[in-house]
């Protein structure tokens, strides 16, 4: 069996003296969509930050495309094909929407995602091109953040809490982009608090609880009660996660 595109081996991550992740073992195969679910503070975003290089692991290894990237600088990982749509969108306010899109492709790999292709996939952005990155609605900002990340033609796209703060209809629109992205052969790793949404698009999932993997599997094969228990760390009482 070939090596997965992304593999985390016994990964410990923290900030100073505070350890947020403990011995994470996780793998994502090429062209797979994997969701990481977990309650607030479970360490989901820290995990993504470690994968993109914004936080250095304390111990363990991050292997991407067969090589360790644990010591590789964040900007070099983008050139290698890892892109993150960060929590909070992080749109550049002093750049126009068009510049925000283009800057995503300044460093990256050649591939199917060009400015033209991105605007075809997200037509909403076409009429906003000359607008400042400031003052966009939440949905517009999220769409722009995804478009910007795609411009680097990532092999592995990480989506961090893309539904956070968005109206349900906008969340649905944002998630409609996932199959479009998958169709280009991009591997997608989704971090999400909205469990139903995350499981609906995933081939596999991991559930984090207090910095550790509490459960993993294929959505639909694991009973909801078990997922709820792993999510909250307590036996299910009939509620939904």
């Amino acid at each position: 069996m070939s090596e997965p595109l992304l593999q985390l081996d016994r990964l410990d991550v923290g900030y100073g003296d505070f350890q947020a992740l403990f011995g994470i073992d996780l793998h994502v195969a090429e062209a797979e969509t994997v969701s990481i679910i977990g309650a607030n503070g479970a360490g989901k975003s820290t995990l993504l930050k470690a994968i993109v290089g914004l936080v250095r692991p304390m111990r363990g290894d991050i292997r991407y495309a067969g090589a360790s990237v644990a010591g590789t600088a964040a900007h070099k990982r983008v050139a290698q094909g890892i892109a993150l749509v960060p929590e909070g969108r992080r749109i550049f306010p002093s750049l126009t929407v068009e510049e925000n899109i283009v800057i995503g492709g300044d460093v990256g790999r050649p591939g199917p995602w060009t400015k033209h292709r991105v605007l075809e996939a997200f037509p909403l952005l076409t009429r906003l091109l000359k607008r400042s990155g400031e003052g966009l609605s939440g949905g517009e900002r999220q769409t722009l953040a995804i478009a910007r990340a795609l411009m680097s033609n990532p092999r592995l796209l990480l989506l961090d809490e893309v539904s956070l703060g968005l109206a349900p209809i906008v969340v649905r629109q944002v998630y409609e982009a996932v199959p479009v992205i998958k169709a280009q052969g991009t591997t997608v790793l989704i971090v999400e608090q909205d469990v139903n949404q995350a499981l609906a698009v995933a081939d596999r999932f991991y559930c984090l609880l207090e910095g550790r993997i509490a459960l993993s599997g294929v959505p639909g094969e694991i009973p909801k009660e078990q997922i709820t228990q792993a999510y909250f760390g307590m036996p299910a009482s009939g509620g939904r996660p």
């Binding site: 900007h75 960060p86 992080r90 306010p93 002093s94 680097s152």
Partner: protein, 289 residues
């Protein structure tokens, strides 16, 4: 007419202050670094120019073709060796590191050139004047300085707005971590921005030394004017820096017109007034970070 002349002289002086302030604005705008050695680096460039022009027997302004590129390289190296270690950490470390560098520069200059005041001899350019009428005269050197400031600021504005690296500068200024996620090498952006900052302040130092006398210890006063120009104009606005420099220059010349002792006092008063009435400066934006 004497007031009109004071305003004109103030505008031209403002060009020099803007040139001093440009690098400060750039380094603060891109990496939130307050370089307290900024003024000392300007005076260092003036002394280097003095040595080069004396040794090679060339006009100090011609020596700029050596000094400005050298300052660019010095800025790049300083960023990589010293300033990178204090960006994004407790500002107290920035203060200690840059203030310390300033002291090292002052004492190195004292050792090499003594405390004697020096000047750069640019020949007739220093005294040549366009005589408009009996009370208004525009010096060629102040005019050249002002034109240089406008050209430098205009070039920087074009660079920031229309080049890939300029776009990376603006993105890094907005959100350095998000810029890293775009594949931008922010350490390189920091180094180039400091290189540009030191190159512009070297230019300012040489033009200052061409119109005034200087010694190893006048750097901190230049730093204060540069700060005032940046803050009056508004943090992060290049053209605001020019407006800030002009405002400061005009305030000083008007003050001096009222009483020769009041020039600097008037400048500081205008700075304080702007701080009280419009803390974000004339063209500054309030940004949520």
């Amino acid at each position: 007419m004497v007031w009109t002349n004071a305003v004109i002289q103030g505008i031209l002086l403002g060009g020099l202050y803007a040139l001093f302030a440009t690098g400060l604005s750039l380094s603060f705008g891109v990496m939130r670094l307050v370089n307290l050695a900024h003024g000392d680096l300007a005076i260092f460039a003036a002394f280097m120019t003095l040595s080069i022009s004396t040794t090679l027997k060339i006009n100090p302004l011609v020596a700029l073709v050596i000094v400005v590129p050298a300052a660019f390289i010095v800025g790049y190296i300083l960023q990589r060796l010293i300033f990178d270690r204090v960006v994004g950490v407790d500002p107290a470390f920035q203060i200690v590191a840059t203030f310390g560098l300033g002291i090292v520069i002052q004492n190195a200059l004292l050792e090499k050139y003594t405390a004697d005041t020096q000047g750069l001899n640019v020949g007739k350019l220093k005294t040549s004047t366009i005589k408009v009428n009996d009370t208004i005269g525009i010096g060629w050197l102040p005019l050249f300085t002002f034109a240089t400031a406008v050209a430098v600021l205009g070039s920087l504005a074009l660079f920031l707005q229309h080049t890939k690296l300029g776009r990376a500068f603006r993105a890094t200024s907005d959100d350095a971590d998000a810029a890293r996620l775009m594949g931008i090498d922010i350490k390189r952006v920091f180094a180039v921005s400091m290189a540009l900052a030191i190159a512009t302040v070297a230019l300012a130092g040489v033009l200052f030394g061409s119109r005034s006398s200087f010694d190893p210890f006048v750097g901190p006063a230049r730093l204060i004017y540069a700060f005032e120009a940046v803050i009056i104009g508004g943090l992060g606005s290049l053209w605001g820096t020019l407006a800030g420099g002009i405002t400061l220059g005009v305030a000083q010349t008007i003050g001096r017109q009222i009483n020769p002792q009041w020039g600097e006092l008037f400048g500081h008063c205008v700075f304080l007034a702007v701080l009280v009435l419009r803390p974000t400066g004339l063209f500054g934006k309030v940004q949520s970070r």
